[in-house]
């Protein structure tokens, strides 16, 4: 990882610096993440039990730990090469104001969501080579306008077994109020036994969403009904909702192994309802060995 720095100067010669992280990697889709290339196991470490507090103090760096209870952060937090197998509603609840980095971490065991953010005041949440699976949702950050970034991660599979109508499973849920989500070369999936579920739910129920950027990676929908979607981009004016805006989906693979269209209710569901400047580019069917592999997919 390198950086680009930009000086910002006023007329008195006072200078502030803006720093941008830059990583040059493989072309998106050439090396897709897998359960074997994400999480802690591929790093070869031996885990030791985590015995600290459930609210982790600001500035903590954890490495090679096995966390078996839900955690939250009081501030800046780094967790590397670790496993979080917490039961309960959520495994990781990001509430503190600092940056959070989860790198080479496996998260499973919560019945609802692997990662949630709640009332964050500042900071970037980065998930790098995170393997999040086995819950109803991978990431839920409704109402969080701070930056979130998923890199080279595997958020699959999430599902909600049962009978009749039940809560919708998703890999990412952002039901309003988000301003910056980057999903880079990441696999998102919903599993079988899911009800009317999609990969990225951006219903603007709590204010419009903007700044959603999906670059590279693979989407997989296995859900067992025709309501499943890729990204739900639309809004409901009769409910007083405002449209989402400034979405980017490019260089993305969409599995057609389970549905010919990839997502039966639309890969870019209600994409035409977006406001602002939006990009849909080079979204292709993924089914190696079959004729449709590589065919372009339009939203809708």
């Amino acid at each position: 990882m390198g950086t680009v720095t930009v000086p910002v100067t006023d007329s008195g010669g006072h200078v502030a610096t803006a720093t941008i992280g830059v990583l040059v990697g493989s072309p998106p889709g050439d090396v897709l993440p897998t359960p074997q290339s994400t999480g802690w196991q591929h790093t070869g470490v031996t885990l030791k039990a985590y015995t600290g507090a459930t609210t982790i103090p600001a500035g903590t760096v954890l490495d090679s730990v096995d966390i078996t209870k839900p955690i939250t952060n009081a501030g800046q937090l780094t967790i590397r090469r670790s496993r979080i197998t917490a039961g309960g509603l959520m495994a990781v609840n990001c509430t503190g104001p600092g940056d959070v980095l989860l790198e080479d971490v496996e998260i499973t065991g919560s019945y609802d969501r692997s990662i949630q953010t709640s009332n964050r005041k500042a900071g970037t949440l980065t998930c790098r080579r995170v393997y999040a699976h086995g819950g109803l949702r991978g990431l839920d950050f409704t109402g969080d306008g701070n930056p979130i970034r998923l890199e080279d991660s595997y958020f699959a599979f999430n599902s909600n077994p049962g009978s009749g109508e039940r809560s919708h499973a998703s890999a990412i849920r952002a039901a309003g109020g988000i301003r910056s989500l980057d999903v880079v070369n990441t696999v998102l999936g919903v599993g079988t036994s899911s009800w009317s579920s999609g990969l990225i739910a951006t219903y603007p129920e709590n204010g419009p969403n903007s700044g959603v950027r999906i670059v590279g990676g693979l989407w997989i929908v296995q859900a067992d009904n025709s309501g499943a979607y890729g990204i739900a981009a639309g809004y409901t004016p009769s409910a007083g909702e405002k449209p989402n805006s400034n979405f980017v989906v490019k260089d993305l693979w969409v599995s057609t192994e389970f549905y010919p269209s990839g997502c039966p209710s639309g890969v870019g569901q209600h994409w035409n309802q977006l406001a602002g400047t939006n990009v849909w580019s080079n979204v292709r069917k993924y089914h190696p060995g079959f004729a449709e592999h590589g065919q372009q997919i339009n939203p809708g």
Partner: protein, 93 residues
């Protein structure tokens, strides 16, 4: 006089394949800038009064300089004028 404040960098980091580019937007402001109003009473010898309203702006423009690349093989070019905020930089691998 205070230094400019960087309000946001969007996205804060980018991952690029060789040949790809990404545009990053930086928003900043100078805390010394501001605006307000002043009311000046004007009275004649018969005590007839009017008020003159004056708008006052303290402008301290900020400039976004040339980007410096550290430890990675990319180019970074500002694609908006130097004195315009937000500024956008194109990072090309």
């Amino acid at each position: 006089m205070a230094s400019p404040i960087v309000d946001s960098i969007t996205p804060a980091s980018v991952t690029l394949a060789p040949g790809q580019f990404a545009d990053v937007t930086i928003t900043a402001h100078d805390p010394d800038s501001g605006s307000g109003t002043a009311d000046i009473p004007i009275t004649d010898g018969a005590s007839n009064a009017v008020t003159a309203h004056v708008s006052i702006t303290i402008a301290d423009p900020i400039l976004f300089g040339a980007a410096t690349v550290n430890g990675v093989a990319v180019t970074a070019t500002r694609i908006t004028p130097a004195g315009v905020s937000p500024a956008t930089y194109r990072i090309q691998a």
